[in-house]
Amino acid sequence: MAASGAGGARAGGGAWFSALALGVTFLKCLLIPAYHSTDFEVHRNWLAITHSLPISQWYYESTSEWTLDYPPFFAWFEYVLSHVAKYVDEEMLNVRHLNYFSSRTLLFQRFSVIFTDALFVYAVHECCKCIDGKRASKELTETPTFILSVLLLWNFGLLIVDHIHFQYNGFLFGLMLLSIARLFQKRPMEGAFLFATLLHFKHIYLYVAPAYGVYLLRSYCFISNKPDGSVQWSSFSFVRVFSLGLIVFLVSAFSLGPFLALNQLPQLFSRLFPFKRGLCHAYWAPNFWALYNAVDKALSVIGLELNLLDPNKIPKAAMTSGLVQQFEHTVLPSVTPLATLICTLIAMLPSVFCLWFKPQGPRGFLRCLVLCALSAFMFGWHVHEKAVLLAVLPMSLLSVEKAGDASIFLILTTTGHYSLFPLLFTAPELPIKILLMLLFTIYSVFSLKTLFRKEKALLNWTETLYLLGLVPLEVCCELLFPLTSWKLKYPFVPLLLTSGYCAVGIAYAWLRLCCSVLLGHPGGGKTKRN
């Protein structure tokens, strides 16, 4: 019966993929009435701006506090959407209707996210083709492609951020995954084009641009390698460099051209890169600076207790009250945007060097991409915890192929996803986020364990304990803490604990990934001829 069941499933062809995609779409439709954040108003405002104002006003408009701060392609995307919106509810397209809300607006916005996710579904489909299916067992649910599809399509972080909190990350990650898939499929020009387009949709993907740049330069522009794998300078192809450069130039010209003509580039860049914001976002992302802040805060408290510091010199309620302003550290040296940039670049260097000196084909590129994204997350300025998805999603591709990557993936994903919990702070959404988190975590742990059951255990005792420790942390922060008297006196404590605890896990994952890149993969990773 089991064999016929599996055989029947394979005979069904891509039926299981459609079922998975449909299933998650249904879930997204059910989440329509859930809580949405101010991002909903942000996007409504952008629909209004792009619809009712001329291009010259787009990056100057500031009636609402949610000014346009994404690159021009996204503005054009909102412009196209607004033309559909006018048939749904014209009132939402008025710039002066601040915080306008109606059920039709909600339906339109939510469905636009669900609809644009089609690109993400297509990208996942393409990525599945790039996965080595040699491990395929007879059972459909134990094949790497099936597990990868579930890990990507039903990704908890993406569901929560896109379909509850409200953003448009689905199709953007679709573009990124599609460009990665094209690089795997030896279509680098398309990959470069897709990535260039993506950069002009959302500039946060600049974090992973070094990986693309170095890989394309090393593995595409140098046509062949010396026998020992190092650079053969004579095989440098100007044609290829030129064509890549042309693609990037044309895309940028298409995007920035109109604004260059209007002399608005400085204004545009000031909107895109607002460095006046603080080191940490309102809810601290679990990165290195969260640990740095925590240490600084702890040292200042100890210093006060031991009378080593003068209480008058300390700014009141520094970063911990969760405001998006610039603050100074009390004990440790203050951190400037330049310092974070330098730290990020230094952190990215090892992986980029490895990509240059020891290229291992598309998989090496993917590893470097994940490491760049994670390094930028760890050391970046004003990082939002949503940025962890930049590392989690590509990592899924690596996790279904090697056991070592699978264990890093489990730690990174679980802590990264848990750190997204503070985004949904309303009571009705509490069961949903807990249930979905459990669903994804249990599935990912057990499916990867089943996939790699012949190798040693994916998680050792300390790692398992650390991950299980998230449960009491959640119980304390969301169930017990609000009932205590500390809620009014120290309202930031749950967020502090959450980001501190998760920062440990993410830093650990980052270190392990660095090691695996620097030390090379044991036994695997034959240098592929490009």
């Binding site: 019966m1 029947g8 079922a19 249904f26 989440l31 009571a427 949903i432 979905l436 249990i442």
Partner: protein
């Protein structure tokens, strides 16, 4: 068992869908003066907490029975009391006598939805999981698929978590009963089923198959020996459970009578509103509700109900088997629904969807989505559109018998597929029309009546189908297993 984690995943999936549906509105939201079932449940918490037991079912100045009086058996009342106890702890305003009428707030909605989830989690979901695990002769993958399809059943989700009711408690108990009785834990099964009946009297629809099955088991064991012992034990269990539930109401004859009057309101007519019942459909052509006097209506409905379920029950008593038991459950429930007196559309929660009701509660989006999800899940795991053979339709023995008289009767599977497609298409069309168009002014109820009529035809077909399976499934059963 490597696949057990799939069961956990499926349960989590079911819970997520349930809670996501509960984010929507409930029945009677913001509609004074009567509101809806949500207010009824809240009112019962108010009544049971603030008044002594003797007054729960009686009309008094403190308890106006016209405003959502208790009309479910005592176990519902005790459950409401328990919920009220917790509510008092959190916010006494929710159940303050008289003052809290029509109380609506986000926190209260969260509390009420949580009570439904907890009841579901404690009673219904474990029953489903255990039931699927105990299914015999199928792979783990199919067991998990069964559990998923059962947990995704839209009717229960929409009524319990949307409209607002506690059907999962009574259905859960009934399922425990089915499980117990099928696995030969007869005493526990009977106890569970008695609890189900004492929670909602609607479960009486299932009581006859239980009775016949258990009686058949006793006969099989021999009335002079073990069978008699079993019968005695069962009688004791039933009497004991009923006594325990009704204890406060057995003290006075008047109490018991009043509760019975509330549970079975024979003062109302043959049917109320539009329901997919034979009488409602028949009423389109011939207004029997107005022509015949009340007591004749009762007698006619009783006769038809009795006659339609008689064959299956007799067969079950003479040849008790778990498979026959399950089919008889369905066919008896259908018979009761189609032919009995004063049926409410929510009674068919068991077998269908209730579109007009859900539209009134503004639950269109969750209805459509859950129904599509259920459909996709079922068609993914249980191939429907492929070639269906007579064996798969379980109609092989029937077809063989008919072919003795009509040798050309080979077209049944194709006919059934054709009928299935027709009925699905008709239902889709009707749904679309109900949602998008306005009915003509001369016939304001056109769409709901059409929905009821078509549903009634479907149910009648299923009644005949299940009865055929029950009657013709016997000696041929063993030879079929060899073929599979």
């Amino acid at each position: 068992m490597e696949k057990w984690y799939w069961m956990i995943v499926v349960v989590l999936m079911g819970l997520t869908v349930r809670w996501a549906v509960s984010l929507n509105s409930y029945s009677g939201a913001g509609k004074p003066p009567m509101f809806g079932d949500y207010e009824a449940q809240r009112h019962w918490q108010e009544v049971t907490y603030n008044l002594p037991i003797k007054q729960w079912y009686f009309n008094s100045s403190d308890n106006n029975l016209q405003y959502w009086g208790l009309d479910y058996p005592p176990l519902t009342a005790y459950h409401s009391f328990l919920c009220a106890y917790v509510a008092k702890f959190i916010n006494p305003d929710w159940i303050a006598l008289h003052v809290s009428r029509g109380y609506e707030s986000q926190e209260h909605k969260l509390f009420m939805r949580t009570t439904v989830l907890i009841a579901d989690l404690l009673i219904y979901i474990p029953a489903v999981v255990l039931y699927c695990c105990c299914l015999k002769e199928i792979s783990i993958k199919k067991k998990v698929a069964n559990a998923l399809c059962i947990l995704l059943y839209p009717g229960l989700i929409l009524i319990d978590y949307g409209h607002f009711q506690y059907n999962s408690v009574s259905l859960g108990f009934a399922l425990w009963g089915v499980l117990g009785v099928s696995c030969d834990w007869d005493l526990l099964g009977s106890l569970a089923f008695c609890l189900a009946i004492n929670y909602k009297q609607m479960e009486l629809y299932h009581s006859l198959p239980f009775f016949c099955f258990l009686l058949g088991k006793c006969f099989k064991k021999g009335l002079k020996g073990k069978g008699c012992v079993l019968l005695m034990k069962l009688v004791c269990i039933v009497v004991a459970s009923f006594t325990l539930c009704w204890l406060p109401f057995f003290t006075e004859w008047e109490q018991t009578l009043q509760v019975l009057r509330r549970l079975f309101p024979v003062d109302r007519g043959l049917f109320e509103d539009k329901v997919a019942n034979v009488w409602c459909s028949f009423n389109i052509f011939l207004k029997i509700k107005d022509i015949l006097p009340r007591h004749i209506q009762i007698i006619i409905s009783f006769c038809f109900t009795f006659l339609s379920l008689l064959p299956a029950c007799i067969k079950l008593t003479l040849q008790p088997s778990p498979k026959g038991f399950k089919f008889t459950l369905v066919s008896c429930a259908l018979s009761f629904f189609l032919f009995s007196f004063q049926v409410h559309e929510k009674s068919i929660l068991l077998v269908s969807f209730m579109l007009p009701l859900l539209l009134k509660d503004e639950l269109l989006m969750p209805s459509v989505v859950t129904m599509m999800a259920f459909f996709v899940a079922c068609t993914t795991f249980f191939p429907v559109f492929g070639k269906t053979s007579e064996e798969e339709l379980k109609l092989k023995s029937f077809c063989i018998s008919v072919r003795r008289y009509l040798p050309c009767f080979t077209f049944l599977p194709k006919l059934i597929q054709y009928l299935f497609l027709t009925s699905v298409t008709t239902m889709l069309l009707l749904t679309l029309m109900t949602v998008t168009l306005d009915p003509p002014r001369k016939l304001p109820d056109l769409f709901s009546v059409l929905v009821c009529f078509i549903s009634c035809m479907n149910f009648l077909f299923f009644l005949v189908y299940f009865n055929i399976i029950i009657m013709w499934d016997s000696k041929h059963g063993r030879s079929q297993k060899k073929i599979n």
